[in-house]
């Protein structure tokens, strides 16, 4: 517990963490801006076009912002710690340091994820209702919950990547690759590989967990809810465990 308290203070006592969390939370405003633009387009459209107007679920569009922010927060908690050697000296068993960093980043990720995803849901639905066909809370919450959790998964993934790569730039590149580049490449692969790769991408997992459709996206929908939940957990845990293993073997 004492190591956890130390790592929590490390994050709290740095201004850049406040900035990163703030940008993540600010994604709600980004979604509001997108909704406002969509309303403007609706108002300018002809009655026939209005009847066929559709809009994507904004919380699933902008969640990439808190995902990346928390992923970066997680990885810099390792790569830019600055007192890491001192911490590893005064906590000779190294895994508590790693697990505490993962717990702090993951906990913050859960809070930021829930606030942004649910906040965006209610704000954007409130703005868009009456113009666009929007889903209600009862049918949406099974998607909103794993989408919120995916932010925490990114945070823990960031910690794992930070330990493994020991380089901020390298780990950021991997994070951006996972969120953006690989899904884009995957979407252009020939079938069945496009569908297969698209099904294990982070962006596909919340809807697969909820058993919802992903037909109009670059993602696939091959996984069962349980399999998708396991893949989501693996994104967080496999790099972390690999990092813990490396930490035991190499010099600090």
């Amino acid at each position: 517990m004492s190591v956890l308290a130390a790592e929590w203070l490390k994050v709290r006592s740095i201004r850049s963490s406040h900035l990163i969390v703030g940008i993540g939370l600010g994604s709600v405003l980004l979604a509001a801006g997108l909704a406002w633009m969509a309303i403007g387009m609706y108002e300018d459209a002809s009655p026939s076009m209005r009847r066929s107007a559709r809009i994507a679920e904004l919380e699933e569009v902008v969640v990439i912002v808190p995902q990346l922010c928390l992923g970066i927060l997680g990885l810099v908690s390792w790569t830019s710690d600055r007192v890491l050697q001192t911490s590893l000296t005064i906590v000779p068993r190294r895994w508590p340091v790693l697990m505490s960093k993962a717990a702090v980043a993951g906990g913050l990720g859960l809070v930021v994820g829930a606030v942004t995803v649910f906040g965006t849901f209610f704000l954007s639905r409130g703005m868009l209702a009456g113009r666009y066909p929007v889903s209600g809370f009862a049918e949406s919450w099974p998607i909103l919950v794993p989408t919120s959790i995916s932010v925490a998964v990114f945070a823990v993934l960031g910690v794992g990547l930070g330990v493994i790569m020991r380089s901020t730039a390298g780990a950021v590149a991997v994070l951006v690759g996972l969120v953006y580049v690989i899904p884009m490449i995957g979407g252009n692969l020939p079938e069945p590989w496009s569908e297969r790769l698209g099904s294990v991408m982070m962006g596909a997992l919340p809807r697969e967990i909820a058993g919802a459709s992903l037909a109009s996206s670059v993602y696939g929908e091959l996984l069962s809810p349980v399999a998708a939940a396991l893949v989501l957990a693996a994104y967080a845990l496999l790099p972390l465990l690999a990092g813990a293993w490396l930490l035991r073997r190499r010099d600090a």
């Binding site: 203070l9 006592s13 740095i14 600055r82 010099d251």
Partner: protein, 239 residues
């Protein structure tokens, strides 16, 4: 007490520490001397379990450092005064370290007072001079009131006032019965501070004696050091 037994560390082809054995006893300041690259810092890292020895042992109070649960209470170390986050205040820096070893805010305030940083405790460490960072590093080493202390070149960057302060602090800590290992390149300062001297060169033990013994055959500690390490200062030379 710190004890090195046949301690060896190899990084790839480089033999950084080569079957090094010596003991650092409590009650006096032991100076740790040697040319750059002689293995002083590596030896300290091995004692602190930051690197794993290739062979041999480094013991603190008879046990392995890595087995200590709350090591700040037994060993305090200053290896790198620059190891502070520039955006974190001196107080929070020490709190981050103290919390992990169950040390409270009152002790943090005490050590800040002791090293003379109370007035800038809430200032960001990024704005500190090297001398102030050295004081902050010494404060961190003293957090757990440990019986064993290791300082790697703590005098660097300190003003004359600070150098004199460190000398008094080191001697005072040793007089309280603590084990103090102090590395430095400032021979005249070392002659004033240390009672015993351990000299290493190319990872091997060159001398382990009292200051009085070393200076008996030479005009000064500096002359003794130069003579003893003359064959050890071939930087990067093939062994």
């Amino acid at each position: 007490m710190i004890e090195l037994r046949q301690l060896t560390k190899r990084y790839g082809d480089t033999l950084a520490v080569d079957e090094l054995s010596f003991r650092v006893e409590p009650g006096h300041v032991t100076g740790f001397l040697g040319p750059n690259g002689a293995g002083k810092s590596t030896s300290m890292r091995l004692v602190l379990g930051l690197d794993a020895p290739t062979s041999g042992q480094a013991l603190v109070n008879g046990g392995r450092y890595a087995d200590l649960r709350r090591p700040l209470h037994e060993v305090g170390a200053l290896l790198d005064a620059g190891a502070v986050h520039p955006g974190r205040s001196a107080y929070n820096h020490l709190m981050c370290l103290a919390l992990s070893n169950d040390i409270g805010a009152r002790r943090v305030a005490q050590v800040l007072e002791l090293v003379g940083l109370s007035g800038v405790a809430r200032k960001k460490a990024g704005g500190f001079s090297l001398g102030m960072k050295q004081r902050l590093g010494i404060a961190a080493a003293l957090l757990g009131d440990p019986g064993v202390l290791m300082f790697d070149e703590p005098v660097n960057g300190l003003d004359p006032d600070g150098v004199r302060w460190i000398r008094g602090l080191m001697r005072g800590l040793a007089e309280e019965g603590r084990t103090v290992l102090l590395s430095s390149h400032l021979m005249s300062e070392m002659a004033l501070t240390a009672d015993r001297i351990v000299i290493v060169g190319r990872g091997r033990l060159v001398a382990d004696a009292t200051v009085a013994e070393l200076t008996a055959g030479y005009p000064s500690l500096e002359e003794a050091y130069m003579a003893l390490t003359a064959s050890s200062v071939e930087y990067g030379a093939a062994r």
